[in-house]
Amino acid sequence: MKLREDQIERYSRQILLPNVGGKGQEKLLNAKVLIIGAGGLGSPAGLYLASAGIGKIGIVDSDVVELNNLQRQILHATSDVGNAKVLSAKERLNNINPDVEVIAHRLRLTSENILDVIKDYDIILDGSDNFPTRYLVNDACVLSEKPLSHGGILKFDGQAITILPGKSACYRCLFPEPPPPGLVPSCQEAGILGAVAGLIGTIQANEVLKYILGIGDLLTGKLLIFNALDPSFRQVKVPKDPKCQLCGERPTVTELIDYEEFCHVRSSQTLSVD
């Protein structure tokens, strides 16, 4: 593969970097990244990954753009309100960089479709905003051995971790089960500062770029925690849990779970007992 003149110009500032060069740029142009959620995390991540020249970017989202999204979901514009997020995302990324093939997956991920959606990608970037999807993505990535960058945000806080299935701690090593519905508020209820989403989404993009280039250290086995008010970054070591239900020595989670239904069932059972 030979870089075109316009590509040499476009990517010159990263080709200059030690350990990137033309070979690194070719790796990026041949890479396939799936972004789950074209929201607060997926937006900045998508912008940087497209700008860097990732060859193929898939975006999963079933929602349409709402006016209240625009405070943090910087892929979309006011004129996109009412349109599918995957379509405005695709248009924006293609405008930035026509080298990138953007695949719009307008769907909600379930245990039925997720393995098929992720199978063609090299690495998955989870920017989802709910626990059922987060666990589904973690489980699907571990079961199909796909590297995963996780990010989460709420109010003034953010976190990120990178998961190399079988090698480093997965999301269930950290948090074995989703919290009961209603216990942890969502951004919809608790609020979120847009710049916090920007930081965490950008950290996720950075993880993906390093993974593809094979440079530096990844956020594997350590959870990065950001607080915007202090402001502070902390790292907490997270060893792989040998008792993890998913990636431990005796796994009990061996197939995908659609938590929404499961949680509803459980909450109604709890109610009837009470």
Binding site: L3, I8, E9, S12, R13, I15, L16, P18, G21, G22, K23
Partner: protein, 78 residues
């Protein structure tokens, strides 16, 4: 320096900084260890910057000579 040993040539006349860098780097990447690249650079900023970058962290520059209003560099791929 054995002039007969030049393996590749790149003419960077009219190519501004840092694109002349980038192109030199890309050319060197394609070459084999120990091969010699002859690069032609413009006077001014390019000749001030390229050898400096070479000294900091890059391949050794074996020769720098002025030819008219241009410069000729011999760079070894390491």
């Amino acid at each position: 320096m054995d002039e007969a040993r030049i393996d590749e040539r790149i003419d960077l006349s009219g190519v501004i900084c840092p694109n002349n860098f980038v192109k030199t780097k890309l050319k060197l990447e394609e070459m084999k260890q120990g091969q010699i690249l002859e690069a032609i650079l413009d006077n001014g900023e390019p000749i001030r910057d390229v050898p400096r970058a070479g000294k900091e962290k890059g391949p050794p520059i074996l020769k720098v000579e002025k030819i008219g209003n241009k410069w000729r560099l011999l760079i070894k791929k390491v």
